[in-house]
């Protein structure tokens, strides 16, 4: 059976350390836009850690929520793309074909999660970051949209290896960069079509919830609410 990739995010475990953001930048050749552009709100983080503060100082509680592309089953970004640059793969991923993108930016307008990023300039990295680019991931030129791919390069690499070695994929064989980097194991990636996988088990939990569920986008990322609030 084809896989249906999904993720579970345990908000009880998330410490807001930001390791997932760094790992994602390194894995996916995401340009660092520089302080000037970042100040204009053009920073590109395929995964970001949202912070919510509650209460007045000194009695403050802070909550973290890592947000990446929700890989919706009914994604609003897909039907609006005039060139099929944004499209649905057989494994349920919201893929972005950079070569096909002409930069209408319609998908980013349509996305309710604001997880699609436009290359306003050609990518650049402060030295020496430009020498650590991942050869498995294309570098995007100016004028195209980019977004979280669930590390599709890792998924394909492991699938090809498994096929060559004639073995079945096990749960946990594939890890996205963010899930691998997460020290608290708050991010769990896996196949939702496998009922025994850890991500399926977590997604079925009672405290599981989707982001902006009432929009009907059917996200494949499940957030596990904090125990104290569940």
């Amino acid at each position: 059976m084809t896989a249906r990739w999904g993720m579970a995010v345990d908000l009880d475990r998330c410490t807001g350390c930001g390791a997932c953001v760094t790992a994602c930048h390194a894995e996916n050749n995401i340009p660092t836009v520089g302080p000037e552009q970042a100040a204009r709100g053009r920073a590109m983080h395929w995964i970001r850690v949202e912070r919510y503060f509650e209460g007045e100082f000194p009695d403050v509680r802070v909550k973290f929520r890592p947000v990446m592309c929700q890989q919706c089953d009914a994604a609003p970004c897909e039907p609006v793309c005039p060139t099929y640059a944004s499209h649905h793969t057989a494994e349920g991923l919201n893929a972005q074909v950079y070569n096909r993108c002409i930069g209408t930016r319609y998908c980013a307008n349509a996305c309710p999660y604001n997880v699609r990023f436009f290359d306003f300039f050609n990518p650049q990295w402060p030295r020496p970051l430009e020498v650590q680019l991942n050869p498995d991931v294309s570098v995007r030129e100016v004028g195209v949209m980019e977004k979280c791919t669930f590390c599709v390069q890792r998924i394909t690499a492991v699938q090809i290896d498994a096929k060559a070695e004639k073995r079945e994929l096990k749960d946990g064989d594939i890890k996205t960069a963010c899930a691998q980097a997460c020290p608290a194991k708050a991010l769990v990636f896996g196949d939702l079509n496998d009922p025994e996988s850890e991500v399926s088990r977590l997604s079925r939990e009672a405290r599981g919830a989707k982001l902006l569920e009432d929009l009907g986008t059917l996200p494949k990322v499940t957030y596990l609410t904090k125990q104290s609030e569940a």
Binding site: T83, I102, Y106, A110, D119, F120, V142
Partner: protein, 260 residues
């Protein structure tokens, strides 16, 4: 004009009408220079935008559309002028429309062309704009027909074709008038444009029926074009955009800006 009776015009009137076609004053060249300068300025800023990267426009996330698309909607709204004034008033036989008809129809055709430029200017990679167009290609890659931007392409080309026809039809007798007075290359060009117009009553009758048909046909096209342009916004689940209100709202807005 199609409503002129097929009697020959008084000589002085024809003389007055033809003067701008036969003589060019220095004022015209000055105007061309000034407006051409504006066009060159626009083109160079556009090339600068492509050279440096789209970021110099100041457009930002999360709403990635700004003044380019606003301009697009504005010009498409302006293009309503010709259809409304010309077609609707032609249908209700309002005589006072005659002096403004040609002007309004020209505005429609050219405002549409200007409007259609803006979605291309606003592209991240404008040199690939033809991927929005369904053209036959070896790899059988087609545009996504679910995308409102592709609907836009069809709506605007339909409207442009219709309004150019609507502009051209009543101009045929005028082309013939110029043809009869001009000489040389000009005579040949206007001869082609006049499509063999002789001014017979049969020709006048056919022209009148063609204009009636076009006037009826172009009104629903105009209404649908403005509705489709509004679909660009209302099809996206964005707060304030995602609304059934947008179709009628854009049509009504276009009528207002068109008349203005």
């Amino acid at each position: 004009m199609s409503d002129a009776r097929p009697t020959p015009l008084p000589a002085t009137l024809t003389e007055d009408l033809m003067r701008p076609l036969e003589r060019t004053s220095w004022r015209f060249y000055l105007l061309v220079l000034v407006l051409g300068g504006l066009v060159v300025m626009g083109l160079s800023t556009w090339f600068y935008q492509m050279y440096r990267g789209f970021g110099i426009t100041g457009i930002n996330m999360p709403i990635y559309w700004a003044f380019y698309i606003t301009n697009f909607v504005f010009w498409i709204g302006i293009s309503h002028a010709g259809t409304l004034i010309s077609a609707i008033l032609r249908l209700v036989n309002a005589g006072w429309r005659r002096p403004v008809t040609r002007c309004a129809e020209v505005i429609t055709a050219f405002a549409l062309m200007i409007g259609a430029l803006f979605p291309i200017i606003h592209l991240g990679r404008p040199w690939l704009f033809f991927w929005l167009v369904p053209y036959p290609n070896q790899r059988m890659i087609w545009p996504n027909f679910r995308s409102p931007l592709v609907w836009d392409f069809f709506a605007i080309t339909t409207y442009l074709t219709g309004s150019v026809l609507f502009l051209f039809l009543p101009m045929i007798p005028d082309f013939a008038l110029v043809r009869d007075r001009a000489t040389g290359l000009r005579r040949r060009i206007y001869g082609v444009l006049a499509l063999g117009w002789r001014g017979t009553s049969k020709q006048w009758h056919r022209l009148e029926s063609a204009m009636q048909i076009m006037a009826v046909a172009i009104i629903p096209v105009a209404v649908s074009v403005h509705t489709v342009v509004s679909f660009d916004f209302s099809m996206a689940p964005v707060p304030m955009w995602h609304s059934t209100m947008f179709g009628p709202y854009f049509v009504a807005g276009a009528i207002f800006s068109g008349v203005a």
